[in-house]
């Protein structure tokens, strides 16, 4: 089966066109460029391909076989079956971008619901229909700050994921932005106010802060920093873990102008880092500078409520080189999963989940630091990720793997000052049995 229904009538159709062979269809390709076959195996049966993929899948060690306590912005969460049931509807997943709104009302309304829930969670007025991931959302936020303020310096925390630092550099190199890093307080593990104050000047377009930050720690002085940032006419960009927002204030309530985040935890699997969701929300006054698609509610010719893509004169298919971003295809289905997930949880469910996660984080940190030779280098209050200094991170890592459990993320390659430090993450999904296995392994490695 090649999924090509016209193969049997190919010759008849070719003759119908007044041609004699398939080659006639390709006569416009110069002969010296023509190839006669691809050096790939011939097609195989579904059964054979499935068996091969089964073999590959068994060479991976997924969470169910190898519980992992890795942090770094991705962690396992419970995925309600309802989410996949809806995202597996082929009316949704086999559709293109909703260019024809009359035939895409379902997806358009779902995006509108998503935008509404993200605006509610972040405390912003508007949200777009998704960007690729949290890192590119940061890149787009920096560009938007620069377009809006017509200034060219953007400040980021030094304790930011190297992935985001690198993506940000690539997103802003074309616009000629200068990126400067704000040192973190080596004791609390949060952004240093003094360091920020020294870097702020009239060239700063925006300042980025993560809450909780890359070390898992809450930036509890965010409101104070917002005042400082706004005093310099710079925009305040806050990165969030959306799962924390059931128990933590919305950034809009402490002065954020733009809120971004990695949204994959909302109903999407870890997926080896795929299935990401770039959250992007902001205040109404920045609407015309917003990157990506946005959906509006309007009426049809009979006066019924209806949805469509709107404010499209910002976008590449209309504005070409003057567009606010080049993004076209986004992460639509991941966004749909997020909308279903949030509606499945409800506001109270999100709060309950936040409580479970912060309690799991605090309790695991306490258990690990009570093992001799493991301590916490930072004093700041954290959510569900935290940094631990191990006696020997490499040894801890291999010992844990031997014990059938995956330890935290080794930070030293990216933060040389954090020798032997690991970033642990724990969620509502980790069982007492898995946690015991971790603690046993850590004791063995101590």
């Amino acid at each position: 089966m090649k999924f090509i229904p016209n193969s049997p009538v190919k010759n008849a159709m070719i003759h119908d066109l007044g041609l004699t062979t398939t080659d006639d269809l390709f006569s416009d390709i110069p002969a010296q460029l023509r190839i006669h076959s691809l050096q790939l195996p011939n097609g195989q049966s579904q059964q054979a391909v499935e068996a091969h993929l089964r073999d590959l899948a068994t060479q991976n060690k997924p969470f169910c076989d190898l519980p992992s306590f890795l942090g770094g912005g991705i962690k396992p969460h419970y995925l309600p079956a309802a989410v996949n049931a809806i995202t597996s509807r082929s009316e949704f997943y086999t559709a293109y971008t909703p260019y024809q709104p009359e035939a895409s009302q379902g997806f358009l309304q779902a995006i509108f619901e998503y935008q509404s829930m993200i605006a509610e969670l972040t405390g912003m007025d508007i949200a777009n229909a998704s960007l690729y991931d949290g890192a590119t959302a940061l890149g787009e936020a920096a560009l938007m700050c620069s377009r809006y303020t017509k200034k060219t310096t953007f400040l980021i925390p030094a304790n930011l994921s190297w992935e985001k630092k690198s993506v940000l550099k690539n997103y802003t190199i074309g616009a000629g932005l200068t990126i400067r890093e704000i040192a973190y307080d080596p004791h609390a593990g949060i952004c240093s106010r003094d360091a920020l104050a020294k870097l702020l000047n009239d060239q700063v377009a925006g300042v980025y802060l993560e809450n909780p930050n890359f070390f898992g720690i809450f930036e509890d002085h965010a409101a104070d920093l917002a005042t400082l940032i706004h005093a310099h006419q710079a925009l305040f960009v806050v990165g969030v873990d959306p799962l924390s927002l059931g128990i933590v204030r919305s950034p809009g309530d402490y002065g954020a102008d733009i809120v971004i985040g990695e949204g994959k935890a909302l109903g999407n699997p870890m997926d080896y880092g795929g299935s990401t969701l770039g959250i992007f929300a902001c205040r109404q006054e920045y609407l015309r500078q917003l990157p990506g698609r946005i959906i509006g509610m309007t009426k049809d010719q009979d006066g019924h409520p209806a949805f469509c893509m709107t404010m499209q004169t910002r976008e590449q298919h209309i504005r070409r080189e003057k567009a606010t971003s080049n993004i076209c295809t986004n992460q639509g289905l991941c966004m749909l999963a997020a909308a279903v997930y949030l509606a499945w949880l409800g506001g109270q469910g999100l709060t309950d989940l936040g409580i479970q996660n912060i309690k799991a984080g605090h309790s695991l940190k306490k258990a690990i630091t009570s093992i001799p030779n493991y301590d916490a280098p930072f004093s700041g209050t954290h959510f569900n990720e935290f940094v631990i200094r191990c006696p020997n991170a490499a040894k801890t890592h291999t010992t844990l793997l031997k014990n059938g459990v995956h330890g935290g993320l080794q930070l030293q390659p990216w933060f040389p000052e954090l020798k032997d430090c690991m970033l642990f993450g724990v969620t509502e999904l980790h069982t007492p049995h898995q946690i015991n296995r971790l603690l046993t392994g850590l004791k063995e490695a101590a």
């Binding site: 229904p5 050096q39 060479q59 060690k61 007025d125 993506v167 080896y272 076209c328 995956h406």
Partner: protein
């Protein structure tokens, strides 16, 4: 004609589906006081049935490839085999963390490594990255590679990117984001790149020339070797927008045509579904001289073990967190194995055959015109300008009326050089019967009273939408509805 009627619900908004509001927030003492949430999250709690009904109703008011023919030009809306979908959901792939020790991810790493090699063979390139999330991000990546390449040669005066006036909108937008000035050149009366315009425009300031081949008119740029010569003679690079790769699978390869950089849309040519707007996947392939700049990590094979390597000092770094939209990679790999080299070639042949078949029947009908050269590849662009002049029917009206026949319209009003453009890409997935039904619908629309199409659609969930009103009074969230 097939009878079609979309489901039509006046589906309430989620927030109106529940009478219970979240209780007031109780501060959580584990959170620092200054950050404790003091107002509830206003998202209603629903029972699962209410939730399922809501989203099921929405799905029934949405049109996908499995609803009917979806010949959006340059979008390659082919069938997405179920096996690809099912495998991508397996725990072995999905329940894995990107920072897991590579020794525990040998299956996925082998898959990615092999997929890179397969895509290199298909495109004729030397090395590949799977990191970009979509076509536009692939373009952006390619342009950053271009920057890095010229910068390493201290060739820093190359500030311009040239593209034909038929280019996809993402091309100029990506070039501009990468810091380049965009220069558009006209097309010939044949609908292809104007070589003399190109020769006049390319200079020592040109970083690269971006081209889609076959182009957005569906015409193969037969002078491609001469184009490559002109571009390379001035030290510039040649960029291939892979949106239309489906037309030439197993027939010709961009790498052999002289392209230095290629992006591929896995969600077009390699059948990963579009997901209502994503996730896509936009791998980028390069020739040897650009390989040192590819994003990290690269997937490498050491003896029998696969690993992720960051040891590339000239790399541009990262373009996206982690390694790309992995579920799309699993689906594309599965698809390539199912099809094989022979099946992919057959796909290109039938995709091109289907397009030319439809083109011929529609031109023969006498209602639609085909500007530019007759032989097309996987897509063709008709002009409905004659219907506008004779009956007042616009391309937009045709698009809306097609919906009443249960058919998705083509891309309309693109490329801009064709008046009242209908850009049709049937793909290899459709049967002759379906093609004939689509042709018949387009002929019926041309013949029936203009008032029918001008007031269409009639059978969809909503009637024609007031898009101007949506811009004038933006209502973008639930909250906006509460305002007085």
């Amino acid at each position: 004609m097939m009878m079609y009627r979309s489901a039509r619900y006046h589906e309430p908004l989620l927030r109106d589906l529940s009478e219970t509001q979240p209780p007031s927030a109780t501060p959580i003492t584990e959170v620092p006081k200054a950050l404790q949430r003091t107002r509830p999250v206003m998202i209603p709690a629903l029972e699962e049935l209410q939730l399922m009904r809501h989203f099921l109703h929405l799905s029934q008011m949405n049109y996908g490839v499995e609803t009917g023919m979806y010949p959006l030009g340059s979008c390659t809306m082919k069938y997405n085999p179920k096996l690809c979908e099912a495998i991508s959901h397996w725990d072995g792939f999905t329940l894995t963390h990107p920072y897991q020790d590579p020794s525990t991810m040998q299956g996925t790493l082998q898959l990615m490594h092999t997929l890179e090699q397969m895509l290199c063979e298909i495109t004729g390139m030397d090395a590949m990255t799977l990191q970009p999330a979509a076509g536009a991000q692939g373009e952006f990546t390619g342009l950053l590679l271009t920057r890095a390449y010229h910068a390493q040669r201290n060739d820093t005066y190359r500030t311009e990117v040239i593209l034909p006036n038929t280019a996809h909108g993402t091309n100029p937008a990506s070039a501009s984001m990468a810091g380049y000035t965009v220069i558009e050149i006209p097309s010939t009366p044949e609908g292809t790149v104007d070589l003399s315009a190109l020769e006049k425009t390319v200079s020592e300031h040109t970083a690269c020339f971006m081209l889609t081949n076959p182009n957005t008119l569906g015409i193969f740029e037969s002078e491609i070797l001469e184009i490559a010569r002109i571009v390379h003679a001035k030290g510039a690079l040649l960029y291939y927008d892979g949106a239309n790769l489906n037309a030439i699978l197993g027939k010709a390869r961009p790498g052999d045509m002289g392209f230095d950089i290629v992006h591929i849309n896995l969600h077009k040519t390699f059948s990963t579904p579009h997901g209502g707007g994503g996730p896509g996947s936009g791998p980028v392939g390069v020739k040897k001289h650009l390989e040192p700049f590819l994003p990290v990590p690269r997937i490498i094979k050491k003896k029998t073990l696969y690993d992720l390597s960051y040891e590339y000092p000239h790399s541009i770094g990262k373009i996206k967190s982690w390694y790309g939209n992995t579920s799309a990679l699993v689906k594309a790999y599965t698809y390539i194995l199912l099809m094989g080299g022979d099946g992919l070639t057959e796909a290109a042949e039938v995709a091109v055959l289907n397009a030319n078949y439809m083109k011929q029947k529609l031109v023969d009908s006498g209602f639609y015109d085909l500007p530019y050269r007759p032989l097309r590849k996987h897509e063709f662009v008709l002009s409905a300008d004659r219907l506008l002049n004779t009956k007042g029917i616009r391309a937009l009206d045709i698009a809306k009326r097609l919906l009443d026949f249960g058919l998705h319209p083509p891309t309309v009003y693109f490329p801009h050089i064709v008046k009242e453009a209908l850009m049709i890409e049937p793909t290899e997935s459709e049967s002759r019967q379906t093609l004939d039904a689509y042709i018949a619908a387009l002929i019926t629309i041309a013949q029936e009273d203009a008032s029918v199409s001008k007031s269409a659609p009639h059978e969809t969930a909503v009637r024609r939408i007031d898009e101007v009103g949506a811009v004038k009074t933006p209502v973008l969230t639930w909250k906006a509805l509460e305002k007085p």
